[in-house]
C-alpha cells in the first residue's frame, strides 16, 4: 500500500477540527488497509513506531533533519534554515523545498507504507558512533523518493511532531466502527486497550479475529496495563461518604509509581506513562526478582528514595538522579529506593483486575516475601474520619503526600480516574524557612552502614510553661561520617536507662539521654503529627507539630543550654506564619 494514501488521509484529518469527521476518515482508511499493515498504520498515526512501552523512539534533532533535507534536495543548509525560519515548521519546510529540489535522482519509486515504516524503524534504532550520519542518510533517501506532501509528514514523524490532533480515543472509535460494525462494542475495545496499552495489537486482534477475541482479551505479562487513577476530595468525611462509609486507607508515598511485570526470571518495570524504566532501577529489579514469590505477576507499588542508613523516606526529587543513561549504579547506591506495594493485577495465570480490592491485596500479600526494602504500603481499614485523619498526619510526618482511600469492593479500573480510589492530600502547608535549635533526648540504633553508631536522633524543643522537652522530629540526615563517629562519645555522659522525667515523648527510643546537647535542625516544613508532642493540641486537637524531612545543619550549639532551645511558642508562631494554601 502506498504511503501517499496514508498521507492523503492525514491531509483530510488536518483539514478538520471535528472529531466525527476525523473518525470517518480513519474508518474509511482502516477498512481498506491490509491487515498486516494495520498495526503499523495505527502506530504511525499516533506519531510513533511502537506502543509507548517499547523503548524505540523517533525524534531526530532539527539540525540533523535540516542536513537531510539539504542533502536530498541539493539545497544549501543555510537556505533550508532560511525557509525554516519563515515557515516555522520542518514539515512545511520540507514540503516547500521538495518542490524546489535541485538534485535529481537516478530513479524514483513511489514510497510504500511498509518501506517507510522499515526505514523509520532503522532510523530510530541506529545508535552509537556514526549513527547520526546514518540517520541523516536514511532520511534523505526517503525524502528523495517522497512527494512534497509525503515529505511534510515524514519530517513531522521523524522529529516526533506529527500532531494530527487525533486522540487515542478517536482511534479506538474508528477501530470499533471499522471492525465491529458500529460503536456498540466500544467499551470492550477500550478495555482491551487499557489492559495492554497497545493500540496496534488491539487493531490487529480486531481485524483478524473480530470482536469476540477482543471480549476475551486479557492482561499480558510484559505489556503495561494502563494505570488506574484516583479522584480527589478534601476531607476524610466526604471521601468516606463517597465510598459508602468505610474505606481502605493507604499511605500515598512521594515517589514514582511503578508497575512490575515478572515472567519467571524476567522482570520489567513500567512508569505511569507506560515507559519501560527497568534500566533506571537496577536495585528494584533485584528486589523484585528476590521478593516476588509468584512465577508470573503484575503488581504495582511506589518506589521511594530512602536514606539507606536510617530508613527515612526522602522527597521524590531525589529519584530524578535515575533519569539518565549513565551512572545509574552510582545513583542507586547514593539514593537507593524502597518499594511500597499496593496492588496485584495478575498472579500466576489469574487476571485479578476484576477482583475486589480486598482480594487483590490478599493475593499481593501472598505472592511476595516482605522485607524492609520491599513491602506492602501502610494500610488501615476504617469507617472513622478521626482515625483517617490521624493516619493521614502520620503519613505526612513520615514524608508521604497523604492517603489514598480505596473502596474495599472496588475492581481495578484500568486507565480510568474513577471514584473507587480517592486521594486525600493536604490543602495547606507550612514551609520551614529558618532552622531551629533542638536538644537531643534519645537515639535509635543504626543499620546498614550505620550499624554500631546511631542511625538517628530524637530531637526535642523546650516547653517553658510546663518546663519539659517535647519531641519534634527524628533526625538522621545531614550528619557526616565524622559526626556519626563522635556522636556516641559526645552523648555517653548523658546516657540514662529510661526516658528522662522532663522529656515528653510518645516515641520509644532505643537509647535515652538527659537533655544536654543542642544542635541546629532545618526541614522542608512544619507539619501536624500524631506522634510528636510539641505544641500538642494547640493547633489541632490530638496533634502536635513536627518537622518534615528534617536534617542537621552541621552546627553544634554547645554555647546553648537545653533551656535556650527554640520554644514551643516559637514553633507555633513559625507554623502559623508560614501556613499557606497549596496551589494546585
Amino acid at each position: 500500500m502506498r504511503f501517499a494514501e496514508l498521507v492523503e488521509v492525514y491531509e483530510k484529518i488536518e483539514g478538520t477540527t471535528k472529531r466525527l469527521e476525523m473518525t470517518d476518515y480513519l474508518v474509511e482508511f482502516f477498512r481498506r488497509t491490509p491487515v498486516e499493515l494495520l498495526d503499523k498504520v495505527v502506530y504511525m498515526t499516533q506519531g510513533k513506531l511502537y506502543p509507548d512501552f517499547v523503548d524505540v523512539n523517533l525524534g531526530i534533532a532539527e539540525k540533523l533533519a535540516v542536513k537531510a533535507i539539504s542533502k536530498a534536495y541539493g539545497i544549501s543548509q543555510d537556505e533550508v534554515m532560511k525557509v525554516l525560519r519563515e515557515k516555522g515548521d520542518l514539515g512545511l519546510t520540507a514540503e516547500e523545498l521538495a518542490k524546489r529540489k535541485t538534485q535529481a535522482s537516478l530513479f524514483a519509486k513511489p514510497l510504500d507504507i511498509a518501506e517507510v515504516y522499515d526505514k523509520l524503524d532503522k532510523i530510530a534504532r541506529s545508535t552509537g558512533p556514526g549513527s547520526q550520519d546514518l540517520k541523516m542518510k536514511l532520511l534523505s533517501g526517503l525524502l528523495s523518493d517522497a512527494s512534497p506532501k509525503e515529505a511534510k509528514y515524514l519530517l513531522r514523524m521523524v522529529t516526533g511532531k506529527l500532531r494530527l490532533g487525533i486522540a487515542d480515543m478517536t482511534i479506538l472509535d474508528a477501530l470499533t466502527i471499522s471492525f465491529a460494525g458500529d460503536k456498540g462494542k466500544r467499551e470492550a475495545v477500550e478495555r482491551a486497550y487499557n489492559l495492554t496499552s497497545d493500540l496496534g495489537d488491539v487493531a490487529k486482534t480486531l481485524a483478524n479475529y473480530g470482536i469476540d477475541a477482543i471480549e476475551k482479551y486479557h492482561v499480558k505479562v510484559g505489556r503495561p496495563i494502563r494505570m488506574m487513577l484516583a479522584q480527589r476530595l478534601s476531607t476524610a468525611e466526604e471521601i468516606l461518604e463517597k465510598l459508602g462509609g468505610r474505606a481502605a486507607c493507604e499511605w500515598k508515598y512521594d515517589g514514582e509509581r511503578v508497575q512490575i511485570h515478572k515472567y519467571n526470571d524476567e522482570v520489567t518495570l513500567f512508569t505511569r506513562r507506560l515507559e519501560n524504566i527497568t534500566s533506571q532501577y537496577p536495585d528494584l529489579l533485584e528486589l523484585s526478582k528476590k521478593n516476588i514469590k509468584a512465577k508470573e505477576a503484575i503488581i504495582e507499588g511506589e518506589a521511594v528514595a530512602v536514606n539507606p542508613e536510617t530508613g527515612e523516606l526522602l522527597p521524590f526529587q531525589l529519584l530524578m538522579h535515575r533519569r539518565r543513561k549513565y551512572g545509574i549504579e552510582e545513583a542507586a547506591e547514593k539514593f537507593p529506593v524502597n518499594l511500597f506495594l499496593f496492588d496485584a493485577l495478575y498472579i500466576d495465570g489469574r487476571d485479578l483486575t476484576q477482583a475486589p480490592y480486598i482480594e487483590r491485596r490478599e493475593a499481593l500479600k501472598k505472592s511476595v516475601k516482605e522485607s524492609d526494602e520491599f513491602r506492602l504500603a501502610e494500610a488501615l481499614i476504617t469507617d472513622d474520619p478521626k482515625e483517617v485523619e490521624e493516619f493521614f498526619e502520620k503519613a505526612i510526618a513520615a514524608g508521604c503526600e497523604g492517603l489514598i482511600l480505596k473502596s474495599e469492593k472496588g475492581v481495578y479500573q484500568a486507565g480510568a480516574r474513577g471514584w473507587l480510589w480517592i486521594k486525600l492530600k493536604r490543602s495547606y502547608q507550612s514551609k520551614m524557612i529558618e532552622p531551629i535549635d533542638a536538644v537531643i533526648v534519645g537515639a535509635f540504633t543504626g543499620r546498614g552502614r550505620r550499624s554500631g553508631v546511631y542511625g538517628a536522633l530524637l530531637a526535642a524543643v523546650y516547653n517553658r510553661k510546663r518546663d519539659v522537652f517535647t519531641t519534634i522530629c527524628k533526625v538522621g540526615s545531614g550528619f557526616t561520617d565524622e559526626d556519626l563517629e563522635k556522636l556516641p562519645e559526645m552523648l555517653s555522659p548523658y546516657k540514662i536507662e529510661h526516658v528522662h522525667p522532663r522529656v515528653d515523648s510518645q516515641m520509644e527510643a532505643d537509647i535515652w539521654f538527659t537533655p544536654a546537647l543542642v544542635i541546629e535542625i532545618i526541614g522542608d516544613e512544619l507539619t501536624l503529627s500524631p506522634t510528636h508532642t510539641s505544641a500538642y493540641g494547640e493547633v489541632k486537637e490530638g496533634f502536635g507539630i513536627a518537622i518534615r524531612f528534617p536534617r542537621f545543619t552541621g552546627r553544634w550549639r554547645q554555647d546553648k543550654s537545653p533551656e535556650d532551645c527554640t520554644t514551643v511558642e516559637e514553633i507555633v508562631e513559625m507554623y502559623k506564619a508560614q501556613l499557606k494554601r497549596i496551589e494546585e
Binding site: 536530498a72 544549501s76 529540489k101 538534485q103 535529481a104 535522482s105 537516478l106 542518510k137 523518493d145
Partner: protein
C-alpha cells in the same frame, strides 16, 4: 571458502575509500573472476560499480560464488590502518566474520563481522551519452578540488574542442579548460552540459590515485558516468545531475 592476498594494498584501500562515504553497507559478490560491488547511495543519487579482477590479487581462491554483507565504513577504517603492509583476507564462515590480516614484521589481524544486507533491486536507467572523453585522472581530481573552493556544485561541459569544468559561487568563479589534445580520447557528437553536486564528486575522485585513466560519459542534463580504470580494476560511478533552476 574464500581467501585472497594483496601484496600492494593500495588498490583496495583507495577504491573502498572512494565508495564508503556514499554507501554505508553493501553486498560484495565474490566469484572466481574476482570481487564485484554494485550499490546505490540511500538518496539514489549515485550508483557505484566496483570490479576487482582476480588478477589484481596475488592470490585469489574461492570455492563457490558468495555474497559478503559488508559495513563499508568499518572496512574503510580498518584498511586505513594497513599502511603499505601486505593484506590477507579470509572468510571465517563459522563465526561470520572476515579476517583481515596485515603482514609485515608483525602480523595484525582484524575481525570484520559480516552483516545482513537487503538486496535492493537496482533499476538503472539506460542512457545514451553523446560525449565520451578519456583523460588522465589527475586533471579531473585537480579541477574538482579547484571547484570546491568556490561552490558546492560544478558544471561539466564539452564542445568540439574542449572539456570545461567550471563552478560559480558567491565568492567568485573558476573554470578549467582541457583541450582535446590533452585527452586520451575525445568523442563528442554534440556539445552538452550538466551540473553535479561536489559532495559526491569529491569522494569519487579519491579513485584517481589508483587509476590510469578516467572516462567521462556526458550528456545534457542527464547523469554522468565516470569509469576509473586500471589494468585489473574498474571503479565506475553514475551520478544524477543537479537541476539547474535558472
Amino acid at each position: 571458502m574464500f581467501k585472497a592476498r594483496l601484496a600492494d594494498p593500495k588498490i583496495l584501500k583507495y577504491s573502498i575509500d572512494a565508495v564508503s562515504n556514499m554507501i554505508d553497507e553493501a553486498g560484495v559478490s565474490v566469484t572466481k573472476d574476482g570481487l564485484r560491488l554494485k550499490a546505490m547511495d540511500p538518496a539514489h543519487v549515485a550508483l557505484v560499480d566496483l570490479e576487482l579482477k582476480k588478477e589484481a590479487f596475488d592470490e585469489f581462491e574461492v570455492e563457490e560464488p558468495l555474497v559478503l554483507g559488508i559495513d563499508l565504513e568499518r572496512l574503510n577504517t580498518i584498511l586505513k590502518r594497513a599502511g603499505t603492509d601486505q593484506i590477507l583476507i579470509q572468510l571465517d564462515s563459522e563465526n561470520n566474520v572476515l579476517k583481515i590480516r596485515f603482514k609485515n614484521s608483525s602480523t595484525r589481524t582484524f575481525d570484520l563481522p559480516l552483516i545482513e544486507v537487503s538486496e535492493e533491486e537496482l533499476k538503472v536507467p539506460n542512457l545514451d551519452f553523446p560525449s565520451q572523453i578519456e583523460i588522465p585522472p589527475k586533471i579531473l581530481s585537480e579541477s574538482i578540488k579547484d571547484a570546491e573552493i568556490v561552490s558546492d556544485h560544478v558544471t561539466l561541459m564539452v564542445d568540439e574542442e574542449n572539456l570545461f569544468i567550471s563552478a560559480k559561487g558567491d565568492l567568485g568563479n573558476v573554470e578549467v579548460k582541457v583541450p582535446k589534445d590533452e585527452a586520451k580520447s575525445f568523442e563528442v557528437s554534440k556539445s552538452c552540459r550538466s551540473m553535479f553536486s561536489l559532495e559526491y564528486l569529491k569522494d569519487m575522485i579519491k579513485a584517481s590515485d589508483i587509476a590510469d585513466s578516467v572516462k567521462i560519459y556526458l550528456g545534457d542534463n542527464i547523469p554522468v558516468r565516470m569509469d576509473f580504470t586500471t589494468e585489473n580494476a574498474r571503479l565506475s560511478f553514475l551520478l544524477a545531475p543537479r537541476i539547474e533552476s535558472e
